[in-house]
């Protein structure tokens, strides 16, 4: 028993191996956590591309709001030009719908209302619907990048044909 006692700052053999064991188990535990976290996070996503081809601009009559249900965006042809607004509600991610009779965008889940330029009329949505980058490709098709927000009503956020 007395042999186990430490003198000064020295560790006894038993204390040394206890520390060594606990230390290596802690390292192994931390490694396992990192391993599990990395494993649970997918490295490749088989999700649709954020860039959507919305077709020829003449598909969209002047002053129209068109919802693309599959990609969750509106293509709006206004007097100032074409622009795109996300159709995903900023509240909890439901797909909103354009109500022509009310002249507004409405969310079926919790009743948020927006103007066609994305501006919020009524909550619970905390933010307006974001504008998405639009441009024309070489074939004259309208492309929308859903992963890039652009400032609302800014000159560069419209496409003029």
């Amino acid at each position: 028993m007395d042999e186990e006692k430490t003198t000064g700052k020295d560790l006894s053999r038993r204390q040394f191996f206890t520390k060594l064991g606990l230390g290596s188990m802690s390292i192994a535990a931390a490694g396992s956590v990192a391993f599990a976290y990395q494993y649970l996070e997918p490295n490749v996503l088989y999700e649709p591309s954020p860039v959507v081809n919305a077709g020829k601009p003449d598909r969209y009559p002047l002053d129209s709001v068109t919802l693309d249900v599959n990609s969750g965006i509106y293509i709006i042809h206004s007097q100032e030009g074409f622009f795109s607004v996300s159709a995903v509600c900023t509240h909890l991610g439901c797909l909103t719908a354009w109500k022509p009779e009310l002249n507004m965008i409405a969310c079926p889940c919790h009743g948020s209302k927006f103007q066609r330029n994305g501006a919020k009329i009524e909550g619970p949505a905390p933010k307006p619907l974001p504008w998405k980058r639009v441009w024309l490709n070489d074939d004259g098709d309208l492309l929308v990048d859903r992963s890039t927000d652009v400032p609302a009503l800014a000159r560069d956020s419209f496409v003029r044909v």
């Binding site: 649970l40 509240h91 909890l92 991610g93 439901c94």
Partner: protein, 268 residues
Amino acid sequence: MAKTVDQYFNDVCETRVWRSIFRSGTGSSTLKRALAIQQNVFLHLFSTKVRTRMLSFSATWYLGTLTLGTFLILVATGIPLMLYYHPSVPQAYADTKDLQFVVSSGMFLRNLHRWSAHAMVFLVFAHMFKVFYRGAYRPPREFNWVIGVVLLLITLLLSYTGYLLPWDQLAYWAITVGSNIASAVPVMGEKIHFLLLGGNAVNANALLRFYVLHCMILPLTAMFFVAIHFWRIRKDGGLYAHSSEPSVLRANEESKTLTASGNPKEAK
């Protein structure tokens, strides 16, 4: 002289095979009956002795037992449902419809699973209220209350993950909304959302993750905590009865001495 059924049963209980399985032996003595509980792997979590009063309906309304009952029904119906269900897009929806309209007794099993799930959520809350209003959460049972709260959360998560599996519009948007609520967590919200769904949107990865959570991880976690929950009832002094709490007994004792003598000093 013909033997009665009881005598035949006693004979079976005396056989070597029976005695090798049930070590406690036969007989209706208090000791034998206590051993029958204590030496049984399924029953040893429970108290070996229970007051008859605690088995009356009014004591607990049987809410905890009924919750366990619905959980067992959910396991028993959930496993057969897994035999016809593929957690893949869009097969999951077709399988759910098959279970409902094509598979023999599929509708019965699915509806039983669904109604038991609703009943379990209701019973867990009812159990919690009953424990709260009786004051049964107080020391020494305070840690078992904490385990109960964990079990409530697991029940709700089981309900939530099971909701996605039919892969219909209701499921899709409910999980879209629910997972977006998770992203409201400060700092880690977006990360939790991403890990929960295995992607940025409710998709094939999300369906598979919810399936594994619903059928493996959450039920096993629930069983683990249920075992601790029951074991702790025994360790914390059995089911709560106000009249047999030490402080109440002491108070009763004092009031008895008071009424017997009319003067507390003389009672000594």
